[in-house]
Amino acid sequence: MTDDLQPALSEALNTLWTKFLPELVSRVATLESASASLAAGDLSITQQGEANVAAHKLAGVLGTFGLTKGTVLAREAEIMYSSEDGTDPELAERLGAIAEELKAIVANRK
């Protein structure tokens, strides 16, 4: 393991980021849609489950690409969506804000 290989890895990671960006954007869109449904009081169990999975996957991967704050936010969303109160409309404002912030974080990664 040599330090001189790290720039090559960083460059390759950027290529992978570009490759997987559509999938990451899609996961954030799932969270946006779920929070909007929650705010409207019609979040289905299926949609809640999808949001939970999307949040879990984002939590697992964003930090791997250097987006530590994204992992923290996605983990917060995962905990909320997986809780017994996961369909409580009172959570909508926070979950909506998390989705919005994640969208910006993903869009702004250099």
Binding site: E23, K57, A59, G60, R75
Partner: protein, 124 residues
């Protein structure tokens, strides 16, 4: 020294980043599988030195895959490291109780993943 690692993870992005990291920085030979079932086959076929196994997968999850690996004499002795995004204490205790070599957490740092694995397995 070169090692062969099998990565079992259903998430393409995680699998590819981990493989890239281990191949680029450590020079290890990486084999991948995108499900627990495929991982069982690959493990028996390629005799890896260690397995990096995701916990949360559809179908056969990580703990189930680990138990199946232990049932097969060909794969029973291969060290397994669980890879999980679960950070709650009760999850960590449950994973440690399985008898895996180590539990690594997502998100991992691609720059240090191979060092983490090497340390956990006592590879110098």
């Amino acid at each position: 020294m070169s090692h062969r690692i099998l990565i079992i993870d259903d998430e393409d992005d995680i699998r590819e980043v981990a493989a890239l990291s281990l191949e680029t920085l450590a020079g290890w030979d990486v084999v991948v599988a995108n499900s627990g079932a495929q991982g069982l086959v690959r493990a028996a076929e390629c005799s890896p030195d260690a397995i990096l196994l995701d916990v949360m997968m559809p179908g056969m999850d990580g703990p189930s895959t680990f138990r199946e690996l232990r049932k097969n004499p060909i794969t029973a002795g291969i060290p397994v490291l669980l890879l999980t995004a679960k950070v709650q204490a009760n999850d960590q205790r449950r994973f440690a109780d399985l008898g895996v070599q180590a539990v690594l957490f997502k998100p991992f740092d691609p720059m240090t993943l191979s060092a983490q694995i090497a340390t956990a397995l006592g590879w110098s």
